[in-house]
Amino acid sequence: MTEKPPNSPRTVTDPSAPAPGAPRPRTAPGTTVLTAPASAEAGAPTRTGARAAAPRRPAPRSWRDSPLRRATPWFFLAVPLALLLTFTYVPVASMISYSFTDWDGVSPHREFTGVDNYVQIFTRPEMFRVFFVSGYYLAASALQIGVALYFATVLSFNLRFRNFFKGVLFFPYLINGVAIGFVFLYFFQDGGTLDSVLAWLGVTTDHPWLGDPTSANLSLAGVSVWRFTGLNFVLFLGAIQSVPGELYEAAQLDGADRWQQFRHIIVPSIKPVLSLSVILAISGSLSVFEIPYIMTGGATGTSTFVIQTVKLAFQFNKTGLASAAAVVLLALILLLTWVQRRLVPDDKVDLV
């Protein structure tokens, strides 16, 4: 992006600003950030010149000529690639191959059944009914992104105890999902933490929180929000803090309030992270597993597609069918991600 959009923050908030690259008399002494764009523009021709000069130089042997040298990057890559192959691609390939068989998970014999498993999945509408449950988690994700964005914005400004609050918000994400499941089981228990806290506030309720499908799903989605807000928060905070500080300064000088700063500086600059979060939220809500599996085991209408798949494989020994279900879920998530990327293309952000 070399062309500046007409509504770039600087032009809008500070019409009297001089042309880019020119010295800016208004800047306070000691602020070096402003020189960054200037030097970048100034530096560009030099770099191009250097590159252009390279072939002219008498270089007898480029590093590209030696086969050993050419292999060097691959040596560095060997270990991660081997791990990636062993633990991701090979299992996925095996899973895809199982999905065309009637394997029960133990037997040495398995029959090739073609696309039978897939036909079965798509002719059994009840297998997709569990996706309604994902709706709860999707709604929760929207809330979660909102909450995380709010706190990330607030805590990116100078506040007292801001590091403490950052820690508090991020902490749940560090706890193991299984532990969270157990903690919240006590939390939602009849007469458990939630009931006690409500009793202190003068609310006595007899409501079994995990007792009926709606309440159970809401409770579980709430746990999921509690757990993953920290992750979103850290992603957003990182993105917000990479916004150069002088933009806020300039905005402030031009009289922009916090909301305007948020709307015109923060949101555009964290757009890639925001769209990543949405992708994670959607794929996450389709494949919820840990928390409901531990807390309810999928009972009382809280079963999700992954829980259903696990039960097919390990309770009913239909490993072939379960593999096919897993492949279908994978395809579904890839498809949704692709659609989303088409709808919201990931263009580069350039504030300056």
Partner: protein, 439 residues
Amino acid sequence: MGKTKALTGALLAVATLTVAGCSGGGAATGEIAAAPADPAGVSGEIKVLTHRTDLVQDGTLKRYAADFNKVYPKVKVTFEGITDYEGEVKIRMNTKTYGDVLMIPAAVAKNDYPSFFAPLGPAGELARKYRFSDKTEVDGKVYGIAQFGTANGFVYNKSLWRKAGITTWPRTPQEFLAALRTIGDRTDAVPYYTNFKDGWPMVQWTSNVGSVTCDAKATDKLAGPVSPWKAGGELHTIDTLVHDIVKQGLAEKDPTTTNWETSKALLAEGKIGSMMLGSWSITQMRAAAKQAGGSAEDIGFMPFPAQKDGAFCATLVSDYQQAVSAHSENKPAARAWIDWFTEKSGYSEREGAVPAVKAAPMPATLKDFVDNDVTFVERSEAETAVVNEIDNAAEIGLNKPDYRQKLIDTARGAQDGSLQDFFADLNKKWDEAARTAGS
């Protein structure tokens, strides 16, 4: 671009190789793992896979091994306790190293036994000596010997029931419900505890198939499109009782947050009236009663409330069956361990369970049953393979908590539908699966 293609090619090649390499277990010889004639002559090292991690940790199994070594001095026995026994062993059985002695995981289909385990002897011979040997019989050969068996019934707090004024065992489901209502009215206790959250305790209800009509072949009769939940069927009687207990508010208020470990103490303290469990639980409950300051006598065990010709019946079902791996290099030593552990170790007595050896007496925990002339019905396993196949194909899970959790949800109104519809749906699923899979 060229590089990407080469990489993709390599990836596919690796994947294909791995997939090809994974398929197929090892071939088994089918040679009988016979017990050695001379105890001093057998030697070698054997590894025993067990689900009893508690007994591995507290050294109980090591003491058994030491006793074993007094008879078989040259055999070294090691134990491997596995917490998620079913899940882990099932996966390990795709390799050749799954110990020398192991408990047969439920996931292994009966017809696959010969490719995983060494036969232990002809059916007739073992059936004379051991209970439950037909559970692992394939083509006239037996592949596993039960550790012990359990009878099924309600564990209940005797002193609490006495306090409510109930001293005789209910004889029909209606009487049982009335008894629970009395307990609910006259005491503060929860009359029945479902253990809904942990799930597996609800599976124990299924083991009453056979107790209701005093029929050892009741489970075998499920092998076919027989609508197991039709009126008059045993599962109909059993699951209607579960449903009614919950529907009439005789179970805990919030089943979704129950806790098994806590439930033991609650029953011992008289805060819970009863739970449907196997007789294996009596020892644990008595220990809990003593811990709570009560007496072991507070814990009672009663059969399913149904009588035939004026007598109660209790189905005996087998616990895990011990088998010798087909890939074991010390089969005689492994067999010697199984024989010794089943007959001489005193393990089943210590657990208060029904011994696998037919000649051995019933344990003290079942004294109530013996004194009241409860008929023990040893469940026939002749058609278990077919029943399991139908069960899995129908995705019902007679031995899984899910459908009974749904039943309870229906009973307490958390799920729409009536009991009749629920049973009709189960029957439909079962019969359809039986027609396609059971043939």
